[in-house]
């Protein structure tokens, strides 16, 4: 089994992160924003795993498990907030929630 080179792994992680970021900035639907954030978290996790494989150590995978756990928590909190938002504004459009602008 040939190991995947570090560079290509990091490039994929970077692309994934960029995709997620663009999703967060461009999308207006809360659910898509949440999914984009998941993509960014996974990009970060991929970078950890690739780096851990490069030096042959388990630290990267341990970090990924942490990230997974945190992502689960984040999603649950985020979904709860979205539920409240939808209940209040009757929409999923994030731009509609700007009534508190200074």
């Amino acid at each position: 089994m040939t190991s995947i080179p570090l560079e290509s792994g990091l490039i994929i992680a970077g692309i994934l992160f960029a995709v997620g970021l663009i999703g967060v900035l461009a999308r207006r639907n809360f659910l898509f924003i949440l999914m984009s954030i998941e993509i960014m978290l996974n990009a970060a996790g991929l970078a950890f795993v690739v780096a851990g494989a490069r030096w042959g150590r388990a630290d990267g995978q341990v970090m990924f498990i942490f990230i997974l756990a945190m992502a689960a928590v984040e999603v649950s909190v985020g979904l709860a907030l979205i539920l409240r938002f939808v209940h209040h504004f009757k929409t999923l459009d994030s731009d509609q929630g700007n009534t508190m602008k200074g």
């Binding site: 461009a26 731009d95 009534t99 508190m100 602008k101």
Partner: protein, 630 residues
């Protein structure tokens, strides 16, 4: 007995506090009881003190009562202490006694109209400030009284504040006297920085030992003190406020002119006479100012229409006599003229007040006329006051005091021909304008209805003052006329004797005859011009030159016009073009920048989630760039 000295200024102050705090809830009777009563008790105390002072003079002829140390900072340690000597005793007795009579009079005079308790509260404060002024043991406490007097004059001249003109007159009085007050304050600083004390006794002692006669420091400090005295006493060139001060109620004018305020300057110069003797040039200036003021205001009084303005100009003129006397070193003569002037000027103002309210606020003398039969008591007391003011020979108090001043101007070491002739011309003017006022107001034809007759309290005040306007003159008579030197002997402990060695009894007697002749001649001229042949007067004033002259004198020699052009307009112009003060620009700029930043940052708070996320990203990129590349 001297232990109660502090009560004399404290009682009117208590009256002010009580009336100022609770006066609105009291009935008019209680207000009058508190306001008049406390000044009355104070007058009684001061008279008792005077009796004790005379029967058993204290050691060194003065009593000092130290209450507490006011300030203790470095070498500066003025105390709240009252010092009673012959000079301050004369002032205390006059201020409290005349003040009490005026208060009694006001309790009836002001009975109609609003602000009864406000009036008495301020009057009490006025008397109290003046008493602090004359009893102060040091210049610092003196200055407190000085400023208190200025404040009260402002409050009382503008008493009927609903008329804007009265407010302007009050402001004028306050601002013009402030010019003098500033000079006085600078003088205080100068004295303290060079002599290290403000206590009158120490100050005079130090000045004599440290400064030679005519030294520049003595001249400067005496000139600054004179500046203050000129402002308060309405002498040239700061005299313009006094005629306008007639806007206040008549008892206030009486109090300002007779007992308080305008005589404060005379007191200041007399109190610091040592300093003036060290500066002969300034002392000469005092005499010159007095002589000029008495002439200028004497001429102005000749053509006034408002009865109170005639009296105002006559006060300036008589205070001018006091300054003349101070300037030639006749200290006791100045104080004696103050004493007699206090009684007859208060009497004249109170009489004028009765006339004014009897004709429903009529100030114009030419609309009065013929009041002799309708108000006989007022007429007779007014005539007594006028006779005293114009120094009618032998029987009036004014004669003896004015004669003393003239005699000192003639035979005194510092007197000279010009000062004497100014005094004599002034005496001639005085009798003309005084009896012009009497003839126009009380004689001739008049059909005005009397709306309010004087009650008991007004009458009592007039009679008491009329008696004193005659008898106080006999406290001091010249050698050729009885030779009673009670007053001069009494003041000898406080002021250097101004009694000069006689130049020869015959000469003095000649002067008395001469000045009496001038007064009688003036009386005759006034009789001709204003009673017998008014046509003659009209033929003079109807000419073009006469009209211009009358207009010029009427406006008080155009001083208001000059000050308006020279000072007020340039200042107002400067204020107008610099409305947006250029010094404010830096501060306004700072405010403007922070406002711009506020709007800019406020824009970022759009409430859009994606916008915030983008800012977080940008911030993260910037931070990473900084961390990685720098």
């Amino acid at each position: 007995m001297y232990g109660f000295l502090w009560l004399i200024p404290a009682l009117p102050l208590v009256g002010f506090v009580i009336l100022g705090l609770f006066g609105r809830r009291f009935s008019r009777f209680i207000v009058a009881l508190v306001g008049v009563g406390l000044v009355g008790v104070s007058a009684l105390l001061s008279i008792l003190t005077a009796f004790q002072f005379m029967s058993s003079p204290p050691q060194q002829s003065s009593v000092t009562q130290s209450l507490w140390t006011w300030v203790n900072s470095g070498g500066f340690r003025p105390s709240v202490a009252f010092r009673l000597d012959a000079l301050s005793l004369v002032f205390v007795v006059v201020v409290t006694f005349v003040g009490f009579v005026i208060h009694l009079y006001s309790s009836e005079f002001m009975a109609e109209g609003e602000g009864y308790s406000r009036f008495f509260a301020t009057m009490n404060l006025f008397v109290s400030s003046m008493l602090i002024l004359v009893l102060a043991d040091n210049l610092f406490l003196f200055y407190l009284g000085w400023e208190g007097v200025g404040l009260c004059s402002y409050l009382l001249i503008g008493f009927w504040y609903k008329d804007a003109a009265n407010g302007r007159a009050a402001q004028k009085a306050f601002i013009v006297t402030r010019v003098g007050d500033t000079a006085l304050a600078v003088g205080l600083f100068l004295l303290f920085s060079h002599l290290g004390t403000l206590n009158f006794q120490d100050l005079m002692h130090q000045a004599v030992t440290r400064w030679p006669v005519g030294s520049s420091l003595a001249v400067a400090s005496a000139a600054l003190l004179l500046g203050g005295a000129v402002g308060k006493s309405a002498q040239l060139p700061l005299q313009t406020w006094l005629p306008d001060a007639m806007a206040g109620p008549t008892p206030v004018s009486a109090l300002i002119h007779a007992a308080t305020m305008v005589t404060a300057g005379v007191y200041l110069v007399a109190r610091t006479h040592v300093l003036f003797e060290l500066a002969p040039s300034v002392q000469l200036a005092v005499a010159a100012i007095g002589a000029l003021t008495l002439l200028i205001s004497g001429f102005s009084a000749l053509v006034q229409v408002d009865i109170k303005r005639v009296l105002a100009y006559s006060t300036m003129s008589q205070v001018g006599y006091m300054f003349l006397a101070l300037g030639i070193g006749a200290w006791s003569a100045a104080v004696f003229h103050f004493l007699t002037h206090a009684f007859f000027k208060a009497l004249l103002f109170l009489g004028a007040g009765v006339v004014i309210i009897a004709l429903r606020e009529e100030h114009n003398m030419f609309k009065m006329g013929g009041l002799r039969k309708q108000l006989p008591l007022v007429f007779w007391t007014f005539v007594i006051g006028s006779a005293s003011l114009s120094a009618l020979p032998l029987v009036t108090a004014g004669f003896y005091s004015k004669e003393w001043i003239l005699r000192s101007a003639w035979t005194g070491p510092k007197g000279n021909f010009w000062l004497l002739s100014a005094g004599l011309v002034g005496a001639f003017l005085t009798v003309i304008y005084t009896f012009r006022m009497v003839f126009i107001t009380f004689f001739g034809e008049g059909s005005r209805l009397i709306e309010r007759r004087p009650g008991t309290r007004l009458k009592v005040a007039l009679i008491v003052l009329a008696i004193f306007s005659i008898v106080v003159g006999f406290l001091q008579t010249p050698r050729s006329l009885g030779n009673i030197p009670i007053f001069a002997n009494f003041l000898r402990s406080a002021l250097p004797s101004s009694d000069v060695p006689p130049r020869g009894g015959a000469d003095e007697f000649m002067l008395e005859v001469f000045s009496s002749a001038i007064v009688l001649l003036g009386l005759y001229v006034a009789y001709i011009l204003f009673l017998k042949k008014p046509r003659l007067r009209e033929s003079i004033t109807q000419t073009k030159l006469g009209q211009t002259g009358v207009q010029f004198l009427f406006s008080g020699w155009g001083f208001d016009w000059i000050y308006d052009r020279l000072l007020i307009r340039p200042l107002a112009w400067l204020a107008r073009i610099n409305r947006e003060d250029f010094l404010d620009l830096p501060y306004l700029g700072i405010a403007e920048i922070s406002r711009a930043l506020n709007t800019g940052l406020g824009r970022t708070q759009s409430g859009r989630l994606r916008w915030y996320a983008a800012i977080v990203v940008i911030g993260a990129i910037i931070t990473l760039t900084v961390v990685v590349f720098l």
